[in-house]
């Protein structure tokens, strides 16, 4: 374990945690400007979080420790993923542990814990949101696994650091059919997991249409802040992963302060680019009817599966 590795790992956590709310702010601001509104500025989510963090959380009568523990677990798993995935460098101290299956499992733990919290409140909305969230998660997880598995075949490893390093060194892979299929699948997955349009509408106040928000309706104060913060971190995690797999340039594959700086700047630039595409794209699409969402996600699974097949044949062909 090198000093560089430790610094990189810490840097990644701090960076992702700090950027999460700002990314949400950027998305909202872009949407506002495209729609013709002034918007609240990109720092508004941070202002909201700071306000909420100062407030006492209130637990509804009849709720258990699940409700209190869920935000902590959600935050913990999100930060763990932020350490593991090679966002700015493939040489981080945790690079050996950045296994694809570990990352997907950690994300799923966060999802499940939040649905349990939704059920714990005992309200109709909590249960409704939990049921919808778990339906979506059940379709999202196989799509993620298949998609990244397809990328792992050429690299010969399920370690994300190895996959990304391999994609930096062998850039012919980036434009392969495998790569394109995976990007589409991962984009759909990101939209679903992060609760963006057309799967979920993060701006709605209509309880009956909510998915993610319905589960967290009973949260307040610090607990709500943690949930919101962790949700924004998950958006960075998913968007950043997609960005780094498709555009791996700039990720530090060598130790050194300059490489790290380039890595950070490149990561932020990629995040901004993908965020802008997402934010502006969202303006022009309507939310799907809930029963259409599984069709979309099934499409992502199929794309992931095709990517695996293509990767298998391409590896066979070249080997």
């Amino acid at each position: 374990m090198t000093v560089f590795g430790v610094v990189t790992a810490l840097l990644q956590v701090v960076l992702v945690a700090a950027v999460g709310p700002i990314l949400v702010g950027v998305l909202r601001q872009l949407r506002a400007r495209v729609e013709g509104r002034v918007g609240a500025g990109i720092l508004q989510p941070w202002r909201d979080l700071i306000k909420l963090l100062r407030r006492e959380p209130i637990s509804a009568a009849g709720t258990s420790w699940v409700l209190i523990l869920a935000p902590v677990v959600l935050m913990g798993t999100s930060l763990a993923v932020a350490v593991l995935v090679p966002y700015v460098s493939t040489r981080s101290a945790t690079a050996n542990s950045s296994d694809l299956f570990a990352v997907v499992a950690l994300l799923l733990v966060g999802t499940v814990v939040l649905t349990l919290a939704g059920l714990d409140t005992g309200t109709a909305f909590g249960g409704m949101g939990a049921s919808r969230e778990i339906t979506i998660a059940a379709l999202v997880e196989p799509a993620v696994l298949l998609a990244v598995f397809a990328l792992s075949l050429p690299a010969g490893s399920t370690n994300l650091a190895v996959i990304v390093a391999r994609r930096v060194s062998d850039q012919a892979q980036l434009a392969s059919p495998v790569s394109l299929l995976v990007v589409v699948a991962l984009t759909i997955v990101t939209l679903a997991e992060a609760g963006r349009l057309p799967v979920d509408n993060p701006a709605t106040h209509l309880e009956l249409t909510m998915i993610h928000e319905a589960m967290v309706l009973e949260y307040s104060g610090r607990d709500l802040a943690l949930v919101e913060w962790a949700s924004s971190i998950r958006l960075v995690i998913l968007l950043g992963l997609t960005a780094n797999l498709f555009l791996p340039w700039g990720v530090a594959t060598q130790a050194g302060a300059l490489a790290l700086l380039v890595g950070v700047v490149a990561f932020l630039a990629k995040l901004l680019l993908f965020g802008a595409v997402l934010g502006i794209g969202e303006v022009f699409i309507a939310k799907f009817r809930l029963f259409r969402v599984p069709e979309l996600l099934a499409g992502a699974v199929v794309l992931g599966f095709l990517a695996v097949m293509a990767a298998f044949f391409l590896v066979q062909g070249s080997g």
């Binding site: 109709a124 209509l206 249409t209």
Partner: protein
């Protein structure tokens, strides 16, 4: 203009069902049922109006105060059954043999045996939690569960409790329990002079100031025999169409917002704001209050033809962008269909009725102006879209916006002269009684939600003795659960918005 003779028939309780059925079979619909407390009897007036003609007929039944019971005719007409329940809760007149005798208006914490419209008690007994809960029908079965929503909602909307019985995401049954907004507004009218009633009428449902204000003024004018010149009726029609425009635009945007297409909503809000500012120049109030009163119509300044045409073009463009989006079209199409037969049974009015192919419009059937002055095309809809779903309700309103724009543009040159001077009819604002003692009158206006009916009675002293108000929402609310059959829960807010019924106008 507009002085339609009202046929008044005094009948006995035993003749009620036969008479009502006879009137309904001649192309009439129930417009309202109003109870009145006379010295020793309850006088109950059943008003029927022509669906496509300007006929008006009142059936009047007297009920002994000692035995306040009237035979229910809910089996003849569903809306009358609802009026009977309202009357029972407010006056204590019991509809005997009612098939669904649950309370309607009555809130659980009202004192038992207290009827707010009766004049026996000046001060109501103390209010207390009775512990009495509403008898919701429960459905049991494998996987069936209930979602209670409201009466307090997350958005800035009126209070209403919705009880969904659901399997998975599919709605088996929805019961709307409204009635959290009883203000006693009908009672507040009593004892006021007709001109003092205007401020109340304009606030019955805040978004329908012209509709209710005009219906009230027309009812008083009918009672007092004040003749309204045709061009005054047309000037009032301009105001009515301005009100229709700003409400329709706002809802077109909200419907898109509910399917996550917020950009249309933002633009619709901008057009609405432009209209509200325009309204302020027209009557001095953004919601068009203060222009219409019994015997009076004044405006400050008329809008320009160019501005109205510009707004009309903006609305048409916005609607075509919205419906050009495949996602929006998919969400609207086939969602929550109210078929024509169900609509007729429930007695729906306004754009909800027209979207289901029931083309009734009080602007055509009960005009308060010389029909030669209007182009029938303004209020005519093409009938090729009346599919009864959210899409049809959206498209009806797009068409009505175009009609309103055409009407305003067509009427502006006609009414400019009367707008310049304003109109003060004979006896306006004098608040003298009618010549022959007490009098009653009816006003019916096609507001933006549908036909609004007011019936006023003015005593020999010139003061209002009874005002009965009916907002179209009262007729349309029961249609919402019908349309929701087989709809999924997350589509409910969209469906509710496509009906966009008033809670305040419903619960007086």
């Amino acid at each position: 203009m507009g002085d339609f003779p009202t046929q008044r028939l005094n009948i006995t309780a035993a003749e009620l069902a036969v008479e009502a059925e006879r009137l309904l079979s001649t192309g009439m619909r129930p417009a309202l049922v109003a109870a009145h407390q006379d010295p020793d009897v309850f006088r109950i007036v059943y008003l029927f109006v022509g669906r496509e003609s300007a006929r008006r007929t009142e059936l009047c039944v007297n009920v002994q105060k000692s035995v306040p019971t009237v035979p229910s005719i809910a089996s003849v007409s569903f809306p009358i059954g609802r009026f009977e329940r309202e009357m029972r809760d407010l006056y204590g007149v019991v509809p005997a043999g009612h098939p669904l005798p649950h309370r309607l208006v009555r809130h659980g914490h009202w004192p038992t045996g207290w009827y707010p419209m009766r004049r026996d008690l000046e001060v109501p007994p103390p209010f207390a939690e009775s512990g009495e809960s509403y008898p919701f029908a429960t459905i049991s079965g494998n996987g069936v569960y209930e979602i209670p929503v409201g009466p307090i909602h997350a958005g800035l909307i009126e209070p209403g409790h919705f009880r969904f019985t659901v399997v998975g995401e599919t709605i088996l049954r929805m019961k709307a329990r409204l009635w959290f907004l009883h203000k006693g507004i009908e009672r507040l009218f009593e004892g006021r002079t007709p001109s003092q009633g205007v401020e109340l009428a304009e606030r019955i449902s805040g978004d329908t100031a012209v509709g209710h204000g005009w219906a009230y003024a027309a009812a008083v004018e009918d009672a007092l025999g004040i003749a309204v010149p045709s061009n005054v009726g047309l000037l009032r029609l301009v105001l009515l169409e301005l009100e229709r425009l700003h409400n329709h635009v706002s809802d077109l945007g909200m419907l898109c917002n509910d399917v996550g297409y917020g950009v249309i909503n933002t633009q619709a809000l901008a057009i609405k704001e432009r209209l509200l500012r325009l309204n302020e120049t027209v009557t001095g109030h953004r919601l068009l209050r203060g222009a219409i009163a019994p015997g009076i119509t004044t405006v400050r300044q008329l809008p320009s033809v160019a501005e109205i045409e510009e707004i009309g073009a903006d609305i048409a463009e916005l609607a075509s962008i919205a419906l050009g989006n495949a996602g929006v079209l998919d969400r609207f199409t086939g969602t929550a269909i109210l078929d024509r037969a169900a609509g007729l049974d429930v007695g729906v009015l306004g754009y909800v009725a027209r979207a289901s192919g029931i083309f009734e419009d009080a602007r055509n059937s009960h005009p308060l102006w010389d029909v030669a002055g209007v182009d029938p095309e303004w209020f005519r809809l093409s009938d090729d879209f009346a599919t009864g779903d959210v899409l049809a309700r959206f498209r009806v309103r797009v068409q009505e916006c175009a009609g309103s724009v055409a009407a305003i543009v067509g009427l502006l040159p006609v009414v400019s002269e009367v707008a310049e001077t304003g109109w003060h009819g004979v006896g306006a604002g004098a608040d003298t009684g009618s010549a022959g003692g007490s009098a009653s009158g009816i006003g019916m206006i096609e507001g933006w939600r549908g036909a609004i009916t007011h019936r006023v009675e003015i005593g020999a002293d010139g003061l209002l003795s009874r005002v009965k108000i009916v907002d179209p929402s009262f007729f349309n609310w029961p249609a919402l659960p019908l349309a929701l059959a087989d709809t999924i829960v997350p589509d409910f807010p969209l469906v509710n918005k496509s009906f966009n019924l008033s809670y305040a106008g419903n619960d007086l």
